[in-house]
């Protein structure tokens, strides 16, 4: 089978085809490592802008409080990207995602309190444990439909809170656990908010890159096929069960990372941080931001975390605002704010094209 695209550059190799397999030539164009298409111009520009904003934020001198909210938004967004992969790509909604964050957070806190293990060594443990639990709680999703699974995950996170509250000295019970600071590396002191912020920002950038790669790889395409039509996916040879477990496991990795970042930012965690209500908040951010586009989870996290600040709302009023926002999104912007922004952008580009054609004709 001939491969039909241009000669590759240094990083881009043509995607693999084999004359012995049934595979067809993949979509034309340059690919990274033969699997993921290079981002388009628009995507690259957006990426650069987001990166620039992330880097510049502390230097805009918007205040300590603003930066603190930015850190919270950052690690929440990381967890949301896990949920975005699970829901946006594979169609598996969960209202128990906070529990996975909690597993990551408590793993780190327990390791610190009982084994004296600090942030850097605990990091892989948090991610792995959350991944394992993520995979385990996906098992019911193999047998029941989406609506039932939402209830199951809701119960799961409530169950986790009960277990943590009754965990005695091991989990710190209702009071919870404290952790100390992140051990400095390369002489960077993470007690300084700005450094903590950059750590979270770095984790977020890595998350964005990984999400981009997963979403645009054949794996992402397979997940979307499962989301669109499960029986058809099975009928063309996709092992749906394995993929569902896989994506929920990956989702857990992101949640675990978010969890350990959270515990080392707050320096104290307790069970209620990971119950039903926080899970609902995550689902809310997902809905508001949009699950399918790459900046959806980030936008959702920004809206929910910054809205009360920007509009100076108290907690009660801010929840009313969220409710209204959710209604607006459901009725007018089903794809979330991210989809709305993309639509506006496309509309503007189309208008600009028409106008430049008209002026060129004169």
């Amino acid at each position: 089978m001939e491969n039909t695209f241009e000669k590759p550059g240094a990083l881009a190799r043509p995607a693999q085809t084999s004359s012995l397999s049934g595979k067809l030539a993949p979509p034309a164009g340059r690919h990274l490592a033969g699997i993921v298409p290079l981002p388009s111009l628009e995507q690259s520009v957006a990426g650069v802008l987001v990166l620039a904003l992330l880097l510049a934020l502390p230097w805009l001198h918007l205040g300590y409080r603003f930066l603190s909210i930015a850190v919270t938004t950052g690690y929440t967004a990381i967890a949301l990207y896990g949920l975005g992969l699970q829901f946006g790509q594979a169609g598996i909604m969960s209202t128990g995602h906070a529990a996975l964050i909690g597993i990551g957070a408590y793993t780190a806190a327990i390791l610190a309190n009982h084994l004296g293990i600090g942030f850097w060594i605990a990091l892989p443990f948090s991610m792995i444990l959350s991944a394992i639990v993520g995979g385990l709680i996906s098992l019911p999703a193999l047998r029941v439909g989406g609506q039932h699974y939402i209830i199951i995950t809701f119960c799961f996170c409530t169950l986790l809170v009960v277990i943590l509250t009754n965990g005695g000295w091991f989990t710190g019970a209702a009071t919870g656990l404290d952790v100390g600071p992140i051990y400095p590396v390369f002489g960077i002191n993470f007690d300084k908010l700005r450094n903590g912020y950059y750590l979270v920002a770095l984790a977020l950038v890595i998350t964005l890159v990984l999400t981009y790669m997963l979403t645009n790889s054949p794996y992402g395409r397979t997940l979307r096929a499962i989301r669109e039509n499960e029986p058809l996916a099975r009928a063309v040879g996709i092992n749906v069960d394995l993929h569902k477990i896989g994506v929920c496991t990956v989702s857990g990795v992101f949640a675990g990372l978010a969890g350990i970042l959270q515990v080392y930012y707050l320096h104290h965690i307790s069970p209620t941080l990971y119950g039903a209500f926080p899970s609902m908040f995550l689902a809310l951010m997902m809905m508001l931001g949009g699950a399918k586009l790459i900046y959806g989870p980030l936008i959702g996290a920004i809206i929910v975390n910054f809205l009360p600040e920007v509009m100076d709302l108290n907690p009660v009023d801010s929840r009313i605002a969220y409710g209204i926002g959710l209604l607006v999104v459901i009725l007018l912007l089903p794809g979330g704010v991210s989809a709305g922004l993309v639509d506006i952008y496309r509309w503007l580009v189309a208008r600009w094209r028409v106008l430049s054609q008209i002026s060129a004709a004169h």
Binding site: M1, E2, T4, S19, L20, S21, G22, K23, L24, A25, P26, P27, P218, R221, T222, R224, A225, E228, N229, P231, L232, A233, R234, A235, V236, G237, I238, N239, V240
Partner: protein, 241 residues
């Protein structure tokens, strides 16, 4: 030994027996058709053969291997591919992606007899969807969705294609186009077994017909003989005539 051997197959859902003791052999060289009144167990048969349901009793042997009770994706990867009664597609994905996904996950075995498609566009051309590659599957009219269903099934690299009511909902002209398409498949090394209700369509297309009624096989043979069989006529037309 035929490619697909179904022996003593039985499928019951609780107390409801959908298939009771069916023996069927399907060869790759001749187009086989399965007909029968509604509720006679035709789609259930396909579902059991392709692993959507587990058989209650009996065996399904494909190319010498007992595949009874294996999961659908495994069976599809062995070259036994089915289409669905409803026009199924990956709605939000493009037509091209629909075909491409099937090619990624279907049987990876190349066969000297079977076609070697170079790109999704070749398959789309073959089924008559030239130029529709970038359309979103869910936005296509019904006739095109049916063609897409066949394209997706072909992309999964089948050795035997099980078509479940492929002509349902098609106009006469569309059904004729479909006939022209299907009739080429055995010569390309792809066996065909189809279920449908259009008698003229089936009589024209199939070299062999099997008739099911209430989950059992009541007739089998060339279309002329089968369609004039008194048992078959009674099942379809009643015995008042």
């Amino acid at each position: 030994m035929a490619a697909l051997e179904i022996t003593g197959l039985r499928k019951a859902f609780g107390g409801v027996v959908a298939i009771s003791g069916v023996d069927i052999s399907i060869e790759l060289e001749r187009i086989t058709g399965i007909i029968g009144p509604n509720g006679s167990g035709k789609t259930t048969l396909f579902n059991v053969v392709t692993g959507v349901y587990r058989p209650t009793a009996g065996r399904v042997v494909w190319q010498g291997e007992d595949i009874s009770g294996q999961p659908p994706h495994q069976i599809a990867r062995k070259g036994l591919v089915r289409t669905f009664q409803q026009a199924m597609s990956f709605q939000e994905l493009s037509v091209r992606e629909n075909v491409y996904i099937a090619s990624e996950h279907g049987s990876q075995r190349a066969d000297a007899a079977k076609p070697r498609w170079g790109s999704p566009e070749e398959i789309l051309s073959f089924v008559g969807l030239d130029g529709h590659g970038e359309e979103i599957a869910g936005s296509m009219p019904f006739g095109n969705l049916r063609r897409l269903g066949v394209a997706v099934a072909l992309a999964a690299n089948p050795t035997l294609l099980l078509l479940d009511e492929p002509a349902a909902g098609l106009t006469d002209r569309e059904a004729t186009a479909l006939t022209d398409l299907i009739i080429q498949l055995p010569k390309m090394g792809i066996g065909v077994c189809l279920i449908d209700h259009h008698m003229t369509f089936m009589a024209a297309l199939c070299e062999r017909l099997i008739v099911l009624d209430f989950g059992t096989k009541i007739a089998e043979g060339p279309p002329d003989a089968v369609l004039h069989d008194p048992k078959v006529m009674e099942v379809y037309l009643g015995n008042d005539l």
